[in-house]
């Protein structure tokens, strides 16, 4: 199946603006993120934290809403990866 991934703000320099990824059926959002960081070491470094390789240092939207890493992806899904903006 094919899934479209878009990166925003500083993640663009690390992962490019938009890519279509081919993934095996049954892949989860966590699988997709692993796939993305494995081909973009800069992003991997930026995201790694205490909770593992994607240690919560990215906000990830699946089909325009918040998602869980265990969510199973489907053909045509859209994923957005953006840095966490938490300051005020």
């Amino acid at each position: 199946m094919r899934v479209v991934v878009r990166a925003f703000a500083r993640f663009r320099e690390m992962a490019g603006e938009e890519a279509t990824l081919e993934l095996p059926e049954g892949s989860t959002l966590a699988d997709l993120l692993e796939e993305v960081v494995s081909s973009h070491p800069g992003l991997k470094k930026a995201l790694s934290g205490p909770d593992g390789p994607i240690g919560g240092r990215a906000m990830v939207l699946l089909n325009r809403r918040g998602a869980d890493p265990s969510d199973v992806l489907e053909e045509g899904d859209e994923v957005a990866i953006l840095p966490p903006f938490s300051g005020g």
């Binding site: 925003f8 703000a9 500083r10 663009r12 934290g49 205490p50 909770d51 240690g55 919560g56 240092r57 906000m59 939207l61 089909n63 325009r64 809403r65 918040g66 998602a67 869980d68 957005a80 953006l82 840095p83 966490p84 903006f85 938490s86 300051g87 005020g88």
Partner: protein
């Protein structure tokens, strides 16, 4: 209004009736830091009748690169009191209430219920999620903003209509001190203030259902369309569980 010409340059935008609507409105600004500075200054100068500023912190010198509500002479003072003085100085027609408390589950309910617009000018997602819940429960629109470095984001949450903050960001990011430039707080806080004024006067098209991303590093804007999460624990099916 004692000074008939104060709002001359903005009344063409929304008429005398729009100005009266602003004057009749209460805005709750939660957080008197960088975002809260920009938002509350522009809401006060626009003539929003009552502004409630909530912050339990005191002014430190490291705040002054971005928190324009607070000046050198305010060091050590409660931010809420310092904010109220600055806002009254900018526009004596505005009633300003200083609440020198950190927003929490107990105080938010009453504060939110008495307002027409709730501004998220917080610096952490745990309290943002509490504020989201209070705004949803009271049915009051929530104007979200957040920054990091040169970048930031904003959206407008209308209870019952748009996704809520937890639909978009279900889990808080790790607690980290983020870099913050005053001008970035100015950009995002000004977008939030624009959204509040538009909402209160009925002007324009809001950021409802759209996350605006400001990429200051590259000088560009993007937006992500948003959808509700039917299982959202704050606004969806998950709420009853």
């Amino acid at each position: 209004m004692e000074d008939g010409t104060r709002y001359d340059r903005q009344i063409p935008l929304f008429g005398e009736e729009g100005q009266r609507r602003l004057a009749r409105s209460t805005a709750l600004v939660v957080g008197a830091g960088g975002l809260g500075s920009a938002v509350s200054v522009y809401l006060a100068t626009a003539g929003v009748g009552r502004i409630v500023v909530v912050d339990g912190d005191v002014v430190e010198v490291s705040n002054l690169n971005r928190q324009i509500l607070h000046w050198q002479e305010d060091l050590g003072r409660p931010k809420a009191a310092s904010a109220a003085d600055t806002l009254r100085g900018l526009n004596p027609e505005v009633e300003v209430e200083a609440v020198p408390l950190f927003a929490d589950e107990d105080n938010l309910e009453e504060l939110v219920a008495g307002s027409d617009a709730v501004v998220d000018a917080l610096d952490n997602f745990d309290t943002r999620h509490l504020l989201n819940g209070s705004a949803l429960a009271a049915g009051v629109p929530l104007f979200h903003g957040a920054i990091s470095g040169l970048d930031g984001q904003a959206t407008t949450i209308v209870p019952g209509m748009t996704p809520c903050l937890r639909c978009i960001f279900p889990r808080p990011p790790p607690k980290e001190q983020v870099p913050a430039l005053g001008a970035t707080c100015g950009v995002i806080g000004s977008i939030q203030a624009t959204e509040v004024v538009k909402h209160l006067t009925g002007l324009g098209a809001s950021l409802a259902g759209r996350l605006l991303l400001w990429d200051g590093y590259r000088g560009r804007c993007d937006e992500i369309p948003l959808e509700r999460n039917p299982g959202c624990p704050d606004c969806g099916r998950g709420r009853e569980l």
